[in-house]
């Protein structure tokens, strides 16, 4: 395992751990206001200080991790669960109208400015975590469809697929039995990348007020809340900012590391 993978997995699991622990324990109630105790810098009682409502930043970061992870994970889930079958179908029927339709549809989704559409979606259906998930998820679909199709197409050329066809297996069965397991690595790697992009996207949407709604804490909203206060309470922006950066960094490192680790071609080259 590479250094990247270890570092990335370490950082990511730290965040996941924080999110999981937050279900049973946080130092303070993350939603409890204590206005007289507002804007404290990090100290022994409040490790990350308090925000403008006197809420404990550490607790908010912990619970915020939950939001980020949930939104990003579900968005990736949407992208994968729709994109992968579409990609498999397109590859299995290469050159057919179905393939053409799926690929043109992909291009079309790609052509839409994602943030504008996300804003529109949330404007239409209301701001909130669920709509953020949908908005981010929609743009994950073509990503997974495309990458699945690309990988599947080259697999379809391989002789073991021909062997499976000789064994009388149909396209659907071959896709499920032979293609999918062989693109899984690629999907896992892309998944971590989309996951990290999802976290950034959630932060961006929350920053413009369209992500998870209060009192659910979200790193992006913490940043938005903090932005006017950076000049006198920089920790309010630095801490959630760093949380986002470290999480995304961890996921990206993990994605890179996984790619190296899972790709046998590279593995051989290194030994």
């Amino acid at each position: 395992m590479s250094r990247n993978l270890i570092l990335g997995a370490g950082l990511s699991s730290l965040v996941v751990l924080a999110a999981l622990i937050s279900f049973i324990w946080t130092p303070y109630d993350h939603a409890a206001l204590n206005i007289p105790a507002k804007l404290q810098t990090p100290n022994a009682r409040h490790w990350f200080g308090t925000d403008h409502f006197g809420r404990d930043m550490f607790s908010m970061i912990m619970v915020g991790a939950r939001t980020s992870i949930a939104v990003a994970l579900l968005a990736v889930g949407i992208g994968m669960s729709l994109g992968v079958p579409l990609g498999l179908a397109a590859a299995a029927r290469k050159g057919s109208w179905l393939d053409e339709l799926i690929m043109r549809g992909n291009d079309l989704v790609f052509a839409f400015p994602s943030l504008v559409i996300a804003i529109l979606i949330t404007a239409v259906f209301g701001a909130g975590a669920v709509n953020a998930i949908i908005a981010i998820g929609i743009f994950n679909i073509p990503v997974f469809a495309r990458i699945t199709r690309g990988a599947a197409l080259s697999l379809w050329e391989r002789e073991f697929i021909l062997a499976a066809r000789v064994a009388g297996k149909g396209a659907a069965r071959i896709s499920a039995e032979h293609i999918l397991p062989n693109v899984a690595n690629l999907l896992i790697v892309q998944g971590t990348i989309q996951f990290s992009l999802g976290i950034l996207a959630e932060a961006g949407l929350s920053y413009v007020g369209l992500g998870a709604q209060p009192p659910t804490p979200s790193w992006g909203r913490m940043l938005a809340d903090a932005q006017t206060m950076v000049s006198f309470a920089p920790h309010l922006a630095l801490i959630p900012g760093l949380a986002i950066i470290l999480t995304v960094l961890g996921l990206n490192l993990m994605g890179d590391g996984l790619r190296d680790w899972l790709d046998p071609r590279l593995r051989v080259a290194r030994t």
Binding site: P113, V208, V230, A237
Partner: protein, 315 residues
């Protein structure tokens, strides 16, 4: 080439038609009425009705869609509900900020990323590579609005090298205009540069493993000569794709940055228009952005052919 262009143009037209429908549908179901937004809380029903008639909002959705689309085909994007000026005029004005900003950011990101990527690829595994790759990892991870906040804090408020925002206007001269776009362009460009540098590096590394690079070395080219003469142009193909994608992202994705730096650009126009339910403006701008993305991708495809002779003959 002609056939290829024609086919692309056809699919481009279909895409645009579908896009216009999708945009119209999504935007029209957004709750909120532009007329009541404009007239506020004390508006009386008859006043509202009068305004709705004036704005053409009393027509059916189908009628409005048709007149919007046919208008656009004639180059007429309609009239903004709130501003009451031609949308095309508004877009043209805003484009003078957004387009230079996007190009500026693109130039910056390319200028930073390509050398960094080449440097890292040439020093694969060495400390220089690790440093560049570390920096790009960070660059990808930093949300650009957060980065923008930090830039303003440091360079505008503390050092006062730049204005905190706003756009000087091109009439004040090119340097003044560019000066006021510099911080936003950096904020936009850096995360993109990080991505681009990574693509550049991995594309180059892929190429370095190609047989023809070994051939070049066997001819007596040094590592560096081989990289520049044979590696770069081949590595440019994936890099071009990303540059194409980035341009459209920069054009459309600057909403937040334009907000932070209060630039009068397209992004901010859409944002305002969405909250004011100035539907026709939103529809037209989104349409324009989609158009831009599709056209840029088309151009990138054509650029491939310039770089890669194999594509030139593929009819």
């Amino acid at each position: 080439m002609l056939r290829y262009s024609l086919k692309r143009a056809l699919s481009l037209a279909i895409s645009l038609a579908v896009a216009s429908l999708v945009i119209f549908a999504v935007i029209e179901i957004a709750p909120g009425d532009p007329a009541s937004f404009m007239l506020g809380v004390n508006a009386q029903p008859d006043t509202l009705a009068a305004l709705r008639t004036e704005l053409g909002l009393d027509q059916s959705k189908a009628e409005r869609y048709v007149s919007w689309v046919t208008g656009m085909l004639r180059g007429d994007f309609g009239t903004s509900y709130t501003y009451r000026t031609p949308v095309s005029q508004m877009i043209a004005d805003r484009l003078w900020v957004s387009l230079p900003l996007a190009l500026y950011a693109l130039a910056l990101s390319t200028a930073i990323a390509l050398p960094a990527g080449i440097y890292a690829a040439a020093r694969r595994g060495k400390p220089g590579d690790l440093a560049v790759m570390g920096a790009t990892q960070l660059g990808v991870a930093v949300p650009n609005f957060w980065f923008a906040m930090m830039l303003v804090l440091i360079f505008a408020i503390n050092l006062r090298w730049f204005n905190a925002g706003g756009f000087a206007g091109w009439d004040k001269g090119l340097t003044a205009g560019l000066h006021s776009l510099t911080l936003p362009a950096i904020a936009l460009a850096l995360p993109q540069a990080a991505i681009l540098a990574r693509v550049m590096r991995s594309a180059l590394l892929d190429i370095l493993g190609e047989d023809f690079m070994r051939t070049a070395r066997a001819k007596g080219l040094t590592r560096r000569q081989a990289l520049w003469r044979h590696g770069l142009r081949n590595a440019l193909i994936p890099v071009l794709t990303i540059i194409g994608l980035q341009f459209s992202f920069l054009l459309a994705g600057s909403i937040i940055i334009e907000q932070v730096f209060y630039l009068p650009g397209l992004g901010r126009l859409v944002f305002q228009a969405i909250s004011a339910r100035d539907l026709i403006v939103v529809e037209s701008v989104v349409m324009l952005l989609v158009f831009a993305v599709i056209v840029v991708n088309f151009l990138v495809d054509l650029a491939y052919a310039l770089v890669d002779p194999r594509l030139r003959t593929r009819t």
